[in-house]
Amino acid sequence: MSKNKESIINQLTQKPWEPAQVKVDNLHEGKTFNLHVGKLGLRYLMVVSTIMFCLFIVTYADRMVYDDWVRMPEPFLLWINTLILVISSFVFIRIQLASKKNNFEKARRELFFIGFLAVLFLIGQLLVWQDLVQAGYYVSGSPANGYFYVFTTLHGFHLLGGLIYWAMTINKVWKLENIVIRKAKHTIELCAIYWHFLLAVWIVLFGLMLFS
Amino acid sequence: MIVAVLVVLVTLGSVAFHMWSPWWWSEIASNWVGMDDTIILTFWITGAVFVAIGLFMAYCIWKYKYNKDKRADYEPENSKLEWALTIITTIGVIALLAPGLIVWKNFVTVPKGAYEIEVVGQQWYWMYRLPGKDGVLGTTDIKNINDDNPFGLNTDDPHSVDDILIDADDLHILKDQTLKLNLRALDVLHDFYVPQFRAKMDMVPGMITYYWFTPIKTGTFEILCAEYCGTGHYSMLGYVIVDEEEDYNEWLSEQMTFEETLASNGKSDLIKIALNKKNDL
């Protein structure tokens, strides 16, 4: 059955009352995409969050053109934090490979490492804040400062949310004997996708602040 | 039956209310007759659609009342009918939109030679500024505002010296003189609206908005603030008085320029630079 391959236009122009169409439709399995709901759900959340960041960026661009725009310095620590995120993504790729090979021992170990990196990143971001505040870059100082704090906070909250899911993943991989292995793999995959997403968001935001 | 009758009554009642109720706009006092005409045109078109749909529905309710021995038609769709209706609707929409856009084009194109004056809104009263003898409004900056300089005029701008400042809610304007109103707000959003002139535009702090019109009737017209601006919004009123030339000049001669205002407060030194520059010109 060639389910899910029909284009959306084709589906929307069907005449569901016509006998020929009825025959075809009766064999439909009821799904629109050949995707697990978890993955689709994650995509949905990523889309919402992307839209939110895009809107921020639009307002950022709108605000930037005024002449009272004062650039923020980029503390060197930010580069280190970025590196931490890159390493996390890299580690996640290794975890995925390990879980594919059913090497859950290794996956478990490295998942803990991920948690460590995430906490490290958040601490790093707080240190950056501290530096900036000490240097006199308050949130109300200039719009660029405001955006910097907003972006880092929202990104940080996304990472915190990710850590909740990370804890659930650890939980699943830990009690592996009680649960279907397929499910654990699935959870690891979703967690990895989310971490890559956070890296991408960070790179866009960081790049934006760097080059404007 | 009773339902069908009531649907008819609601439909025709609405039309009757429109025709015979005493509540209607006051006679226009500016050049924006085009706006009124577009509204009337929109009334004809939308009114026809409203009546047609209402009456047709009443007919259906009356004619196709439930009868357990009868069956409804089985007709999933009728492409021809649906496309025909779509096209008719599109034509109707174009007929509404085209005149509207033409009027809007007029509204946003300020004619050359329009007399520029400034209207300033703040919580919760109006102020006005006329360009004075040189015919040019001086530049302003919100940072200059203080008790001596309520408009925030730049004290080094030679054009600001002879600007006529009207720190009152009432404004006199000259009949048949095309005006461009430069709109400025000092604190929050306001909107300078005189129902008889039809035109309006928000005043936004941090920017200068504008619109233009030509008063075509003498008289006294009430100003309403049309953009919510806080607790006193409803009391932010004033009058525009449209005068013939004689009355207008009499009123104008009673108003003080920026220079005179400062002089009366003994603060003439504030505008020294501007006065020097003016002499250089």
Binding site: - | V7, D202, Y234
Partner: protein, 596 residues
């Protein structure tokens, strides 16, 4: 592509692999708490949403009474200008966001989606439960703003800066505005969780045979509205966060340099218009987030009670999708006179009037469904008819306001108030009321009282029409909205006192009759006439559950299999005037439409 032939499927049901949900995936309540309070069953969550929304909605209703009293009979209820503006603001915000949005998507969405698509529950029941409690928290925060010093915000529901966060506005320099913004942000977070469920359940958890084009229009309406919300709510969230920062931390995202009451504030350089863009980028789709579910539901009401398939089903689906898409490029028609670049007016007037075409098609198709139907004038049908009249009226006045030059004299007057109350206030509420009469037998197994229902209907319809139809004419006269006192002045050709008093009396009566309706609900849920299974003889799946009201898991042992679209009413040759969606072809062999 059809590997099995039609007859095989029909005759040999065993050839269809079981689609049973494995038992461990279906949540089971273990205690009273998890059954009624922290419940994961979408039906219960739907009812929780509805009750919470209606409860806060009553605050909105009473606010409107008090406002109307002030306008028509000033002094009868002593009130300061600030209090009046607080009423205006809370009325607007509560009605639009916390009542209508929550009721349509959270209430009807949760209750109807799994039942209509043939699923046992939403795909993420736990997230669904959290969604409700986050919404509940948002309502609590909103309600809390009544009890802080200075009271709730009086900034108008549009919350335009700078006035929203300055001292000239009630609640602007206190906690009122902060709590409002926080509550909205929490609402958006909760709603995102709910929306996740609605969209993915509709896409992925439909039962066998349920193609997209076999879905009832109710599901299409809710689906599209949820997708709109997915794109639109982040804009509100972003605007809310930035304004909160402006207010609390002194940033200048939206705040330009201003002098307030002679005092220069520290803000500099922000853009108030930017906020308006963000707000209406959310705000206009929000109108359709409320309207599209109403469009969908009313299509089903009309079809069921006219015993006729909805006319032009495909066109109806396309119209919903097109309206949804267009709603994102019309937002600035709320800002024609806001001071934005005037040349935007041409673009937004054009897109706005284009949206009238698919909307008109929907109206034609509703009316054409009545044509040659077999119309039962049940209470849901009466509400549907009232909806059409109200919606046509409100939609047509939209053609005034969307047409940029006509909007200039009318914007910010009572014409606008009348227009949006007709089109997104009364019209959707009529649908909500009609659909409660329609689905009450499914929810409780009993009918609502017919006599009380008819009284309720006539008073509501005639009453609300008498409130808002004359109000348009105040707008033509130039009576500006949001005025604590309307001065008669010399502006008006005729006294507006009488008409205002008439409107207020109509509003009081129309509001009061809603309590008759609540009484009807409470009494009928205990003592109403028993409805039995599928009392309206409807085709769609929600009526085909083995138990009425449907129990946990919705469909008993086996999920239904769908063999037809949701509108097989009055099929020529069939024994009855409806064939339910799960009726196999073999059972209606002689119906004409079944023959190839």
């Amino acid at each position: 592509m059809a590997a099995d032939s039609y007859d095989d499927v029909a005759k040999n049901k065993d050839s269809i692999p079981s689609l049973e949900v494995p038992p461990q995936d279906l949540y089971h309540a273990k205690s009273w708490w998890t059954k009624y309070i922290f419940c994961q069953d979408a039906k219960v969550i739907g009812i929780q949403y509805a009750l919470t929304a209606v409860a806060i909605g009553m605050v909105g209703l009473v606010s409107s009474w008090l406002m109307r009293m002030q306008i028509a009979f000033p002094g009868v209820i002593p009130m300061e200008a600030g209090a009046y503006y607080q009423l205006v603001t809370m009325h607007g915000m509560i009605m639009v966001v916390y009542l209508l949005t929550a009721l349509f998507l959270g209430g009807f969405g949760n209750f109807l989606i799994p039942l209509m698509v043939g699923a046992r529950d939403m795909v993420f029941p736990y997230v669904n439960m959290v969604s409700f409690w986050v919404f509940f928290l948002a309502v609590i925060i909103l309600a809390a703003s009544y009890f802080v010093p200075g009271g709730p915000t009086g900034a108008g529901w549009t919350l335009y800066p700078p006035q929203a966060i300055t001292s000239g506005t009630p609640g602007g320099d206190g906690l009122g505005i902060v709590l409002m913004l926080v509550s909205l942000a929490v609402f958006v977070i909760g709603f995102t969780m709910g929306g996740l469920n609605y969209v993915i359940t509709i896409l992925q958890a439909r039962t066998r045979g349920m193609t997209l084009m076999r879905l009832p229009l109710t599901v299409w309406g809710i689906f599209t509205a949820t997708v709109l919300a997915l794109f639109a709510f982040p804009a509100l969230f972003v605007a809310g966060i930035m304004m909160t920062l402006d207010n609390m931390l002194g940033t200048s995202f939206f705040m330009p340099a201003i002098v307030e009451f002679g005092e220069r504030l520290t803000y500099d350089g922000g853009s108030p218009i930017l906020f308006q863009h963000l707000f209406w980028f959310f705000g206009h789709p929000e109108v359709y987030i409320v309207a599209l579910p109403a469009f969908g539901i009313v299509s089903d009401l009309i079809s069921v009670h006219a015993r006729k398939n909805i006319f032009g089903y495909r066109m109806m689906v396309w119209a919903i999708v097109v309206i949804g898409a267009l709603s994102f490029i019309v937002w600035a028609h709320h800002m024609y006179v806001a001071g934005m670049n005037p040349w935007f007016g041409f673009f937004f007037a054009t897109t706005t009037l284009i949206i009238a075409v698919p909307t008109a098609i929907k109206v034609y198709n509703w009316v054409l469904t009545l044509w040659r139907g077999n119309i039962k004038l049940t209470i849901p049908m009466l509400f549907a008819i009232a909806f059409i009249i109200t919606f046509v009226n409100g939609g047509l006045t939209g053609l005034f306001l969307g047409n940029v030059a006509v909007d200039v004299p009318l914007s910010d007057t009572y014409f606008v108030v009348a227009h949006f109350h007709m089109v997104m206030g009364i019209a959707p509420v009529l649908v909500i009321l009609g659909s409660i009469y329609h689905w009450f037998p499914l929810i409780t197994g009993r009918f609502l009282n017919e006599r009380l229902g008819r009284i309720h209907f006539w008073v509501t319809f005639i009453g609300s029409y008498s409130i808002y139809f004359p109000m348009h004419y105040l707008g033509f006269m130039g009576v500006t909205r949001r005025y604590f006192e309307v001065f008669e002045g010399d502006n008006f050709t005729y006294s507006i006192i009488g008409i205002n008093q008439f409107i207020t009396v109509a509003a009081l009566i129309t509001g009061a009759v809603q309590f008759l309706f609540f009484y009807n609900i409470i009494v009928s849920s205990k003592f109403g006439k028993k409805a039995g299974k599928n009392p309206w003889k409807a085709c769609s799946l929600e009526w085909q559950t083995p138990d009425v009201p449907p129990t946990h898991g919705n469909f008993g042992k086996e999920l239904p299999v769908v063999y037809r679209w949701a509108y097989d009413y009055s099929v020529p040759g069939a024994d009855k005037d409806y064939i339910t969606q799960d009726t196999p072809p073999s059972a209606v062999a002689n119906a004409k439409a079944e023959q190839t």
